[in-house]
Amino acid sequence: MGKRTALFENHQQSGAKLVDFGGWDMPIQYSSLMEEHRAVREQAGMFDVSHMTIVDITGPDAKPWLRHLLANDVERLHPNQALYTAMLNDEAGVIDDLIVYQRSSGYRLVVNCATREKDLAWMNSHLANFDVTLTERSDLSIIAVQGPQALSILAPLLLNYSSLTEDSLSGLKPFYAIEADSVFVGRTGYTGEDGAELMLPHHDAQRLWDELLSAGVKPAGLGARDTLRLEAGMNLYGHDMDETVSPLAANMAWTVVWEPEERQFIGRAALEAQREQRQEQPSRQVLKGLVMETRGVLREGLTVHCQLDDGSEAQGLITSGTYSPTLKHSIALARIPANTTSCEVELRNKRIPVRIVRPGFVRFGKKVFD
């Protein structure tokens, strides 16, 4: 038996099919992945993501420490704003990707479940000379309520849990957070839809989950979470990048803040060297979107045969692939040479041409590539 979140019984009551995910028994789906996916794109769905790790960062050196630890720069955050960032090792490999929320006092990080131990070990090993306190918040559950109707359903229910008003929630800008009375609400998510991620005490989470259910929010499992994030073109750690992959080869260059030059974040030297080297490499690896409109499904691990602009051929790799329930054909993320002009994927001994697009396929319910 794996670890259970506080919402385990709620899931059982909703008929969840459970799988082991990083040592946790988590719902992979309830009734049907397709229905759960559609609910998030068209109405509202909710995910229990309490298996993810929350770490609160406090102390006088919280900011300088995070500016050293993370490739993105928390100096750029406005009060209550969130940012997405990589945490790099000295070789500029991605230890993890995470969200940082700025709070009135300190910061809140949300890191992946499967990387919890190595993340905490890494953070703790880089505390020397910083007056910083790390507090893991295993006392909180995380519920992601996502979809075009998510906020309007959620707002009135939240009144019972904190002094947050409906106005404060509806006035919340994307990628900002508010909190009151141990309820934390970020207007963030992993689906490409509007919505919120809630962090709140376990007993409140159990009750709120049931209230959301009664209000018509559909419970959605990790299966739909994966098809939704892939349609949104968002990376999944351990698949689209890991410690052996540079953020520059994982469509994460936009999360790296180079200015000011004197900010010595971990991995910076190696990353600068990579950046220079890549400028002279037309066939440098980049993460792209693939679209296959014929029958069949692109899967992680498949080889991509790439025709390069100099007439040569090279191989790429599918890092995430699925059937897109919204688009009704297959989509994938793949690491391929930047100068690829066309590519084919080998499916059952047949080479099928696929289109190369920017990563990102569906946003707010609509197709976003040409």
Partner: protein, 127 residues
């Protein structure tokens, strides 16, 4: 436990087989198999009129989660294919034993039918 009609035969690779009055056999995948696969999105159907040997790859079923090969439970000629599945593969999820049948084979070696599993044996293998 999932639905397992006792009048059908089964294979360890999750196909079901129904012997028809004309001695042909109808083939599909079990309720357990469709449940494991989850939402089915494509089915590569076998070709009508072709001949297969037992354990040959007959068809490929793709769900959102995974691709799965379907094997011929017996040797013979494929005399009918459920063309409706090309446009509505999800029928295999909703009705694995009725509308979700995949094809019919005229067995060339009826002795192979003896090697198929009954519902209880198959159920034991799924546990």
């Amino acid at each position: 436990m999932s639905d397992l009609p006792s009048e059908l035969h089964y294979t360890a690779t999750h196909e079901w087989i129904r012997v028809e009055e004309d001695h042909s056999v109808t083939i599909g995948i079990t309720d357990h198999a469709q449940d494991l696969l989850g939402d089915i999105v494509f089915i590569e159907l076998p070709e009508e009129g072709s001949t297969v040997a037992a354990k040959d790859e007959l068809s490929v079923i793709e769900s959102v989660k995974a691709a799965s090969d379907i094997y011929a439970p017996v040797s013979g000629e494929i005399i009918a294919v459920n063309e409706d599945l090309a446009d509505a593969p999800e029928t295999v999820n909703s009705s694995p034993y009725e509308e979700g049948w995949i094809c019919r084979i005229l067995p060339s070696n009826p002795a192979e039918l003896e090697e198929l599993l009954d519902a209880d044996t198959y159920a034991g293998m799924c546990e």
